[in-house]
Symmetry: C3
Subunit: 352 residues, 3 copies
């Protein structure tokens, strides 16, 4: 039995303890190689991340790494400890991005178990973790909460103390962190690819991002491995044939990145993610499906002390095999259109 | 209707004006990450681009970036403004490569509308643009003409002044630009992978490049996104099912890069593209097809002031699912063999 | 016929001469771009290769490149000269890794023909080569023997002098090369991702690596091109339809890298390959198949002069569409389970 002892099968629900702190393993250096792959996989064109000269025109030393690539790596680091036995990734809240990440920086992550709630079936439970990613200088790069439904090893296993955390519906604007080095005096809207600034968007406005992108199995597996995300449902097609969907399930974060890249067409100046207010993976995505997206402006806010910058609170909705010209959504009862994949709520930084 | 105003659907034929200059957005820094992806996608092995020591043996500071990767990025930059509503990419002419591009350089591009001609159907028209790509020092890296058939928004829309430009059938040898830093005294044909130099090729000679390479959907989409090329026909498999071909169309430039990489076997020392004389995408390529290629030596030329260097004018022909041992071509009436994908005419630099 | 003379169709069996030395072409610089692709394709998480700070904690200047990526590039360099006409890659022996390779290093390779043996059919023969890869400082990075079955151009062709080399069944521990810069005093098993060190493994112990990973055509072709491996059986789906398997055959080295990445779960601290004792590709792998793996501890050894380091001799077995909880293997007569893909024997470095 020495053999089994060497491999990790991941924690089950009854293995988690409230307030436990978990240091995740294998810190991951991000490089220009990762940036190129991220570009090849999603095609994001937000200018500050694509060009050193453009980044320098904003006061940065060079082009930082796309916020969502940072998100995926921080998320990936937590998977072996948190969600290897997850049935579903249920939601995100209270996410804030901190220091910009540059090629050559190394990301490590720790999580704290902030909530535990067994389901009535006693076969699964919901685990809430707050995960903090830091660079090699121990500066926070991302701090967010996610909750996942995790299998129990044994139905009858007793469960330690339970708690459902109180999560904010959104990050208040005065808690958004804007890297102080940003200076948008020389922000060039010809080079950025969009003329539309903070003042041009209005609350309630909806934007169809027009384009669709089909996802191949090779793409989502390469992306997910790039983040060191080891959740086997994304990789094992043989095992999946006996599973719930009969096929590999695409990592939910893949949809976020695809939809965000599509949103460049309409939101080209909303370049920096400041916060993740909330997010739900409404439906599963599979190889061969085509993703479309639309956005809604939920709110607008000033950035204290930054007269030239503002924040847009955006709702990003992604669909499967369904163009978004008519903004497919939930019905009056809250039931989502069957095409819905993602409902994601975030704050973005944009020039006023 | 604010929503629609925010996204760009691209210019239609009647939106172009003769002599209009268009500054393309989102400059793109090229890095060693892009080089690695280009290698993984095409497998080109031309030695100066694959090794710093080999590049230094030619007088360069380090390995530059493959000319076709530069071409694709300059092309990609122009797509959102020029060819988002293109029906077909019709041809290339008068292309000259200038300064070498190195990892860390940022490429931006501008186009001038040099020709417009409505088609008799009044549903489309041909747009001729001259696109110039520059690095961050404003040095020209590529200057070329392409023409595309672009849809009209409305058949009855009036069309501005028309003109069909006079395009040279080939770049004359005395207009080829050879980076002055090249010194081939120490050019090592063992390391370069081919013993055949300028003197060994004769006008009219044909070379079968032997190998075939099958293209997967994931590959061409990753390549095309890498170039920031946003033409939706390459990505939206859902929309394509209702389209002309019933499936995603592969970016024509993908065929150029595949055929050029195959041509290493036979033309291993023809490492630098000097000019694109002309090029036609004869047929469409789809995922799962296999590409083969052959070349013909159209001409040979001296390089003024460079006793050790010469130029070969090469015709590169690519086919689909058809090996090229017997050089499939056009018939006497000019009708292409049904396997033909590409007919590309370029000047390459090679040691004499 | 000048055309045919320009392309290389590769050597046939009768073209090899005993003791011949072959300098392989197109040295290949490895970069952080290649590292990112390797991560995306295999998902290896061994900490010293993934993070500069972790590498520095071991006394290294920064993160070196994964040993198997080096192996594949050295192998790839030899393909155009050795195995373009190979029917099968039969085995490996006497492999030793030398200097660590860092991003920016350029790898070149030379092979010596150390054995030749015609098969009784006279249609093929076995070629044994010793291939040595070196960096730009001419330091050895890998020195190994492989043998391949190569087609004859003509059955009746006479064959030069024959010899079957005497190959060691394993590299003796006192010949393992440990880079002297390694210092594991500060080796952190929380960051490395596994608590299990040399002392925790016992001879005969078997480890199921649990996870499975499905391989897509795009992935193995991208990987194989990344290594400059030009063997056409991996790329030409059109030609393959008329071939032995009716489809593209995946490069055997792809299985080694997949299985090694899976083995992180159970062998997370066995980070450095010291030697390849032997290896056989037992069965072919195709696109769509799922790879599983298990390991057996064959032996344990001290590292002379390194009190803190030890070596594990490991057998890595990979299977196709067959989880490894019960360790599928050969039967008493030596006949392999039909699921077997790979039987690979290596020494790995690990903290004691």
């Amino acid at each position: 039995m020495a053999a089994l002892a060497k491999t990790s099968g991941g924690r089950f629900f009854e293995d988690f303890r409230l307030d436990e702190e978990i240091a995740h393993s294998t810190p991951r250096m991000l490089t220009q190689g990762d940036v190129a792959l991220y570009t090849a996989l999603f095609g994001a064109r937000f200018a500050p991340f694509a060009s050193d000269p453009f980044a320098r025109s904003l006061g940065l030393p060079r082009a930082p790494i796309d916020d969502l690539l940072v998100f995926h790596v921080v998320f990936g680091k937590s998977v072996p400890d948190i969600s290897l036995n997850a049935v579903a990734n249920l939601g995100y809240a209270q996410g804030r991005f901190g220091a910009l990440v540059y090629p050559g920086d190394t990301i490590a992550a720790r999580s704290t178990v902030i909530g535990l709630k067994e389901n009535s079936s006693r076969e699964t439970g919901v685990v809430y973790v707050r995960t903090v990613g830091r660079n090699q200088h121990r500066e926070m790069v991302l701090d967010y909460v996610r909750w996942v439904m995790v299998r129990k090893r044994a139905k009858e296993a007793p469960v330690a103390q339970e708690r459902v955390p109180d999560l904010a519906p959104a990050v208040p604007p005065d808690q958004l962190l804007v890297p102080p080095e940003f200076n948008v005096d020389r922000y060039d809207t010809t080079l950025s690819g969009s003329p539309h600034l903070w003042r041009d968007y209005e609350k309630g406005e909806r934007i169809d991002h027009v384009d669709g992108v089909t996802v191949e199995e090779a793409e989502h597996m390469m992306a997910t491995r790039l983040y060191h995300n080891t959740a086997r449902v994304h990789f094992d097609g043989f095992g999946a044939r006996q599973g719930r969907f009969g096929r590999r399930l695409i990592y939910g974060g893949h949809v976020i990145s695809l939809a965000r890249a599509l949103s460049f067409n309409g939101l080209g100046n909303a370049f920096r993610l400041l916060a993740i207010n909330g997010g739900r993976h409404v439906g599963p995505l599979f190889g061969g499906d085509t993703v479309f997206a639309w956005s809604e402006v939920l709110d607008k806010a000033d950035i204290a002390g930054c007269g030239d910058l503002g924040a847009l609170r955006l709702r990003l909705v992604a669909t499967k095999d369904r163009p978004c010209a008519d903004f497919p959504d939930r019905d009056a009862a809250g039931k989502p259109d069957p095409s819905l994949l993602l409902d994601f709520d975030y704050w973005a930084l944009i020039r006023r």
